[in-house]
């Protein structure tokens, strides 16, 4: 209702958008669905002169599988990730994570690129990307560079995007044979931000973990891989997994009105076990 006026600009291409960002010199931001950005504008926590709408850029929304990778355009919505058969077949962890995002209204308008660039440490999609080993293609309109998801998400709402760069596309390695996935989350209410979320990918042979990738959201300044746990569970089966996992190290949860740091730390272990267990079960079935 009471929003200080700002300019609305519509970009026709990523080059166009990058030029607008350059011109805005820090007082402009990309509008990629706006389901986090516009609430912040309404609350008056951001003071911007312009929003650059990138959602009308043509040809930026492919979903394809080639050479062992899923290639997903940054402007794909959460709802599309949730429903797309290519995503479901190629990396079901991404589809599962998308289902946990907000309400159906948010999933219809919110985009993959928007969520990743927002880089909320409790968000589901950055976690899925980090665990899946995704890379992001960033463009300033003339040159494109590729960064790993683990390097892109730097800290609370902070990424390695340069001021005039945009996230154009995501490459996600396809889930290989013998791998299973698991995703577990606890929030205070359905659709709320995760108090903690865990994503796991596990390669199973003879019912035992051969190799795993495990990450957590909501308990550090960015989605966090848990290398020590990944090593600890090697050789475990679904029934012995939990015994291998002690208190989670290397996380730094904070207290807020939804939960204390101690509770998040407690959930980190509970959800890590749940995600890994589900992943092993699925891996055995695969």
């Amino acid at each position: 209702m009471f929003v200080k006026p700002f300019r609305y600009e519509r970009a026709a291409s990523f080059g166009d958008a990058a030029a607008m960002l350059r011109q805005g010199a820090g007082s402009a931001k990309v509008l990629a669905g706006g389901q986090s950005l516009l609430p912040m504008m309404n609350l008056g926590v951001l003071d911007l002169e312009a929003l650059i709408d990138v959602t009308h850029i043509a040809g930026a929304s492919e979903i394809a599988q080639r050479d062992g990778y899923l290639s997903i355009g940054a402007l794909r919505t959460h709802a599309e990730l949730e429903r797309d058969p290519i995503v479901a077949a190629g990396q079901p962890l991404v589809a599962a994570a998308a289902r946990w995002v907000g309400s159906s209204r948010i999933r219809v308008r919110g985009t993959l690129g928007g969520s990743l660039a927002h880089s909320d440490p409790a968000a589901e999609l950055p976690l899925a990307m980090v665990v899946a080993g995704a890379t992001y293609d960033l463009t300033d309109g003339t040159t494109t560079r590729t960064v790993a998801a683990t390097d892109f998400h730097e800290s609370y709402f902070t990424t390695s995007l340069a001021e005039n760069e945009l996230l154009e596309r995501v490459q996600v390695p396809v889930l290989g044979p013998g791998w299973g996935w698991g995703f577990a989350e606890v929030s205070r209410r359905r659709g709320d931000f995760a108090l903690c979320a865990a994503a796991a990918l596990v390669r199973v042979a003879d019912g035992r973990v051969v190799e795993s990738r495990l990450g957590l959201a909501g308990v550090a300044e960015r989605p966090k891989r848990l290398g020590a746990v990944e090593i600890a569970v090697e050789g475990a089966d679904a029934t012995t997994l939990a015994d291998r996992i002690g208190p989670i190290e290397g996380i730094d949860p904070v207290s807020d009105v939804s939960a204390t740091a101690e509770h998040r730390r407690h959930l980190a272990r509970v959800l890590a076990v749940r995600a890994l267990t589900d992943a092993v079960t699925r891996g055995v079935a695969a």
Partner: protein, 162 residues
């Protein structure tokens, strides 16, 4: 009109409507203050409560966190758009009325559109739990939700989406 104003044309419940205003104006404000379409309500401004739910080209959206300029050219349906052409209650609305699914009524327009979309898109019959799951983004503080779930379940049983 200033240099930053934008002209937006929307088809609101079937009526093409054009207004010029600042690019920062939300779809909700555009509808309520410029087009006098007041059935979408302001409840939170953050897309949490669902009172401002409208259909944008058929898909539910929180009108408070969508800019009118973003959806220029779209067809917008509000709860009033679910009425019969003579303004009487449409079939889904009649189920809401019969089941006492509104008390203060402030969440009702948004609830109706959420219900409409879920019934329209359902590929298999929705259980009460499914209905609740899909309602979770629309808050109600009066009914306790039971009557709303009853109304939607009844509409489904009768093959009604609108």
């Amino acid at each position: 009109m200033t240099a930053t104003d934008v002209t937006v044309t929307l088809t609101v419940n079937g009526a093409p409507t054009t207004r010029t205003t600042g690019g920062h104006v939300s779809l909700l404000r555009w509808l309520r203050d410029l087009a006098d379409v007041t059935d979408p309500k302001y409840g939170c401004g953050e897309g949490v409560c669902g009172a401002c739910t409208v259909l944008v080209d058929g898909e539910p959206a929180s009108a408070c966190i969508v800019l009118a300029a973003q959806v220029d050219g779209a067809a917008i349906t509000t709860a009033a758009g679910l009425c019969e052409p003579d303004g009487s209650l449409g079939p889904l609305q009649r189920r809401f009325h019969e089941h006492h699914a509104a008390q203060c009524g402030f969440c009702t327009p948004g609830m109706l559109l959420c219900a409409h979309a879920m019934l329209r898109d359902a590929t298999e019959p929705l259980s009460r739990a499914d209905i609740r799951e899909q309602l979770h983004g629309n808050l109600c503080r009066c009914t306790g939700y039971t009557d709303i779930v009853d109304a939607i379940e009844d509409a489904q049983a009768q093959g009604i989406a609108r």
